[in-house]
C-alpha cells in the first residue's frame, strides 16, 4: 500500500508542476510541434538535466536502481511515428491529457477515450505486431552508460564530466 501512496503523492506533485509550467495546454503542445513555442521543449530538457543529476546521484549512492525501457528498433521507431501522428491530432500525450482534464479543459476527455479504445486494440494486435514489427531486442545497454563497477569506463567518464558542472550552474 505504501507504494500506491507514494505513487499518488508523486502524481499530485507531477501534475501540480506540469500545470505551473503551463505545459498541459493543447496550444503549447501544438506550438512545440509547429516549432513556434518551445515551452515544452525547454521544460522537458530542464527536467531531464535536473532529474539526471538526481537519479545518478542516488544511483551512485546505491539508493536506487535504474529502470528504463529495452531497445527494439522496429517497435520504437514505428511506435514513435504513430505516437507523433496521434499526438498532433489529439493535442495531448497521455500524462498531459489527464492533467488538462484537471485544469478544466474537458475536451481532453476525447483523446483519453480514444486511448482506452486504442489500448484494447493494441492488446488484440500484439501478436501480429510482435511477428511483423518487432526486431531484435537490443536490451537497455545500447549506449555505454555509467554502471556502478562498470567496465565501460569511457562512457562512465564522459558522463561524469558532463553531469556535475550542470549541477553547479
Amino acid at each position: 500500500m505504501t507504494e500506491q501512496i507514494i505513487g499518488l503523492v508523486t502524481g499530485v506533485l507531477f501534475g501540480f508542476l506540469l500545470q505551473k509550467g503551463r505545459v498541459l495546454r493543447f496550444e503549447k503542445q501544438l506550438g512545440a510541434m509547429l516549432l513556434k513555442d518551445m515551452t515544452i521543449v525547454k521544460f522537458m530538457m530542464s527536467a531531464v538535466v535536473v532529474g539526471m543529476v538526481g537519479i545518478y546521484a542516488l544511483y551512485d549512492l546505491e539508493v536506487i536502481e535504474l529502470s528504463h525501457k529495452s531497445m527494439n528498433l522496429g517497435a520504437v521507431t514505428v511506435g514513435g511515428l504513430l505516437f507523433g501522428i496521434g499526438w498532433a491530432f489529439a493535442g495531448y500525450c497521455p500524462g498531459t491529457a489527464v492533467g488538462a482534464l484537471g485544469e478544466g479543459r474537458w475536451h481532453a476527455l476525447w483523446p483519453l477515450l480514444g486511448m482506452l479504445i486504442g489500448a484494447a486494440i493494441y492488446a488484440e494486435a500484439y501478436p501480429f505486431m510482435k511477428e511483423n514489427v518487432f526486431l531484435e531486442e537490443l536490451g537497455q545497454d545500447f549506449i555505454p552508460r555509467c554502471h556502478r563497477n562498470s567496465s565501460l569506463a569511457l562512457g562512465c567518464d564522459i558522463h561524469r564530466i558532463n553531469r556535475w558542472p550542470v549541477l553547479v550552474l
Binding site: 496550444e27 522537458m44 537519479i55 520504437v76 492533467g99 483519453l112 549506449i143
Partner: protein, 123 residues
C-alpha cells in the same frame, strides 16, 4: 472482446498485467495536482475545444470529439508499441540515458512535427 475468458487468453495482458498499482494512482494524482494548481492560481478554465483547433476546424464539439478520439487511438497504439510516451521515454528515459528513450522521443517529434504542420501550417 471484454469477456474475462478472452482477456485471460490474450498474450499482451499476460505479459503486462492490469493492476491497481502505484502507476494507476500516479495518473489520478496528475489530475488532482493540476486541479489544485489551476484553482489556486485561477488558471482553471472549462473549455469545450482548444482555441487553435476552433480556428482550424470550427467550434462543433462532435468534430473535436472525433479528432480527439482518433488521435487518442493512434497515439496510444504507438505508445504501447514503443513501450512509452513523452513521460516514460522522453523524461524518464532521457534522464537515465536510455537509448530507447532518445530514439523514441525523436520519433515522437518527427511524427508530430510532420502532421502538425500538415494540419495547421498556412491555415
Amino acid at each position: 472482446m471484454a469477456s474475462p475468458d478472452h482477456v485471460e487468453k490474450n498474450e499482451y495482458y499476460n505479459k503486462t498485467r492490469v493492476k491497481f498499482d502505484w502507476q494507476f494512482l500516479l495518473v489520478i494524482g496528475i489530475a488532482l495536482g493540476a486541479l489544485v494548481s489551476s484553482l489556486t492560481d485561477k488558471s482553471f478554465k472549462f473549455e469545450a475545444s482548444p482555441p487553435i483547433w476552433r480556428e482550424r476546424f470550427g467550434k462543433k464539439v462532435w468534430v473535436r470529439a472525433i479528432g480527439g478520439i482518433l488521435g487518442g487511438i493512434v497515439l496510444i497504439f504507438g505508445a504501447r508499441l514503443a513501450s512509452g510516451c513523452p513521460s516514460g521515454h522522453g523524461l524518464s528515459g532521457w534522464m537515465q540515458m536510455s537509448m530507447a528513450g532518445y530514439v523514441a522521443l525523436i520519433f515522437f517529434f518527427i511524427g508530430g512535427i510532420i502532421l502538425a504542420n500538415l494540419i495547421y501550417r498556412g491555415k
